[in-house]
């Protein structure tokens, strides 16, 4: 059961010339008409320089793109490069930029070294699915969708290689965000929070983070044990077959062989369910844990912004005091300098206030959009997951119903 591309419903194409705000306004109510798929992982090169190339396919009727359907080949560091560009441009002004998937040295080394076993196939599939989800989330963001770097990533056949992706990896960005957060915490600023909304929201996200982590850990245990169950069922199926082979009683022998077949099918079923547990449920949770880290980062940027404004106000005050001193001391050239500085810092204070108001406004909107997306995402995933569970049970019914007459046939 491979994770599938979520299909989006069609909507009216966006006209290129409208203002960014208009597009965003409309987008808030719309479903986006763009669909991204990441597929066909292909190993390129040999040894430690080898890498995986993924096909990124875009299907869209949005007129900002040159074609309706097109695809390009990208490698993992390209994704990281895209994310770092978007993060640099948009994080500090309050946009929640979806984080890129994590780097994994162990996983990737196995693939490079050429281990063709199931664990490296699983790793590649896990990464492919994560990259797909990452792009889907990014294009869903109305502002990011307009970004030329994103468009270049999706469209152009050649992409300049992202350099220094070590610092730019998802983990690297997260580290930057966390450092900023730490810096904020260490600062003994008591921010004059004029707006309780922000405090409330921060607390909510903090709680949500904790709860999601707990849930994620418990779902991971579920996945693990379901895999174990699958392996044990397969082993039992084999021994039931052997027992059937050596059974003297003919009808019983046949029934045991049938039992072995049923158990083998059930083992497959457990495996598929474990995949669903993981790709549908567990990965969603881990995506959101990282998304919330990005949200927290954005709140911290707002605090830094306030700090800057506050610092500017303090400096302005100091400059005014300095001017007053100069006036008393009657040093005309120094007075002029002081007046210049005061003008400079008044401008900075104004800019600081504007920036702070802008980031606050952006965050409010972003959080609203984020929560809406989150509700939709979770609801969709829950339903999909439950449907996978139903599927499993229905298959079980089928298998046991087929087996029952075989058991009854033992004479």
């Amino acid at each position: 059961m491979a994770p599938r591309i979520e299909s989006k419903s069609m909507s009216a194409p966006v006209i290129f010339d409208r203002s960014r705000d208009e597009i965003e306004e409309e987008a808030n109510g719309d479903v986006f008409d763009i669909e991204i798929g990441v597929s066909d992982p292909e190993k390129v090169g040999d040894g430690m320089n080898a890498y995986m190339a993924y096909r990124v396919t875009t299907k869209t009727s949005l007129s900002m793109f040159n074609k309706n359907e097109f695809s390009v080949k990208r490698r993992f560091s390209d994704f990281l490069g895209l994310h770092s560009k978007l993060a640099t441009k948009y994080l500090h002004v309050g946009y929640i930029v979806p984080p890129a998937p994590e780097k994994s040295i162990v996983g990737m080394t196995k693939v490079k070294v050429g281990k063709e076993d199931s664990s490296s196939t699983e790793f590649v599939e896990k990464r492919r699915a994560a990259l797909e989800r990452y792009l889907q989330r990014t294009v869903k963001h109305p502002t990011l969708l307009q970004d030329p770097d994103l468009r270049q990533f999706l469209e152009s056949s050649e992409l300049p290689r992202a350099v220094n992706t070590q610092a730019l990896s998802g983990a690297g960005i997260l580290r930057m965000v966390n450092k900023a957060a730490d810096a904020v915490n260490k600062m003994t600023i008591k921010m004059n929070e004029s707006d309780a909304w922000f405090e409330e929201k921060q607390q909510q996200f903090e709680n949500l983070d904790q709860q999601l982590r707990k849930l994620h850990a418990s779902v991971e245990a579920l996945v693990c044990h379901r895999k174990e169950l699958s392996a044990n069922t397969a082993a039992f199926a084999k021994s039931a077959a052997m027992l059937g082979n050596s059974e003297d009683h003919t009808a019983l022998s046949r029934a045991l062989s049938q039992l072995a077949e049923v158990e083998e099918k059930i083992d497959q079923l457990h495996q598929e369910q474990a995949f669903a547990d993981f790709y549908v449920f567990s990965e969603l949770l881990s995506d959101y844990i990282r998304l919330i880290a990005a949200v927290k980062g954005v709140f911290d940027h707002r605090m830094k912004c306030w700090q800057k404004w506050d610092d500017a106000q303090i400096t302005l005050q100091k400059k005014r005091e300095a001017e007053a001193k100069m006036m008393l001391a009657n040093k005309p050239d120094k007075i002029q300098q002081a007046k210049n500085e005061i003008r400079e810092w008044e401008a900075k204070v104004q800019q600081g206030e504007r920036d702070f108001e802008q980031i606050s406004k952006t965050i409010r909107k972003e959080v609203g959009r984020f929560e809406k997306e989150r509700v939709k995402d979770f609801k969709t995933v829950i339903i999909k997951y439950l449907e996978s569970l139903v599927q499993t049970q229905q298959q079980l019914i089928k298998y046991w119903e087929a087996f029952l007459p075989e058991a009854k046939a033992i004479a």
Binding site: N207, L208, Q211, L212, K214, L215, A217, S218, V219, A221, L222, H225, R226, E228, L229, N232, T233, A235, F236, K238, S239, A240, M242, L243, N245, S246, E247, D248, H249, A251, L252, A255, L256, L259, E371, R374, V375, F378, K379, I382, I383, L386, E387, L389, V390, Q393, Q394, L396, I397, W400, E401, F403, L404, A407, K408, I410, A411
Partner: protein
Amino acid sequence: MEENPDPGEERQPCSVSMDLQGDGALQVEISDAVSERDKVKFTVHTKSCLPHFSQTEFSVVRQHEEFIWLHDAYTDNEDYAGIIIPPAPPKPDFEASREKLQRLGEGDSSVTREEFAKMKQELEGEYLAIFKKTVAMHEVFLQRLAAHPTLRRDHNLYVFLEYGQDLSVRGKNKKELFGGFIRNIVKSADEALITGVSGLKEVDEFFEHERTFLLEYHTRIRDACLRVDRVMRSHKCLAEDYIPVSAALSSLGTQEVHQLKTSFLKLAELFERLRKLEGRVASDEDLKLSDMLHYYMRDAQAAKDLLYRRLRALADYENANKALDKARMRNREVRSAETHQQLCCRRFEHLSDSARQELTDFKARRGSAFRKNLIELAELELKHAKASTLLLRNTLTALKGEP
């Protein structure tokens, strides 16, 4: 092979199907059982119109060691050499369950009160299930004895059923332990016999076939037992995993925004119900598959023991033949050699006839027991799968209906 529905079966969670003809002559059951610190006390209740007993209905209290004493009395009895002696019930083992309960008590502070209560409930259920199983195993042992036309007439059985005092067999003393050790050495010699290493010639096709069959069958059923136990443990593990998932969903639900609240709370409830269903699947597999395989592994061993005894009798017969030839050659003590040879011959033939019947019965018994349990297993699996499907569908409908 006929299959008689057994009315007494419904009470028992035990999976072993017995063709127990309740003919009123001797009816045995375990009417009560008490689990004390490190032992279980079984109340054995007998109803009989046989003249050997002083009453028609009576009870005694027995412990596991006394059952073993009875079993050994049968296996040591030369008269029953040609019979498959019903396998002894396994020792009651609450160790693992007790350990788990203790560990739970020692506590893990990250667990909520509800989670703790649920885990405790699971473990108590497990303890109860083990208890019920041990009662059933001990009961089946006695019932098979009571149903066997030859075995039911044994004096030791009467003593076991009626003698009010304890049988002073608890705690094997050194002599008995040593005896057990000797028994095992003899067993290995028998293994050599049965695996053909000793060079003994088997002329009877039926027994040759049975020997090959049982050797392989026993190995494979033992293997199947190990593996089915692992499957069962995985299922239990999975059911237990649903507890923290449900708890996490529940706490998410209580904190969440309005639109997701119901979804998470409903999901939490769903997982709680799924846990119970998954737990039932695990315990049904335990009873219908695991218990049955374990029992027939022990029964197969008992059948192998019968074959050993027959081969020993054959060896004795062959030796007696050789001794007779020697005596005839030397013309000394021919009379006694002849008598001895005749005795061995009669014993071997009688044993073979009895064994032939017993092994045929074993095959029939196996067929009907597996049939019954596999049917019940399939029916229960279907029941649980249908219940799960209904539960899941209802939750899906409720969630999809949400704005």
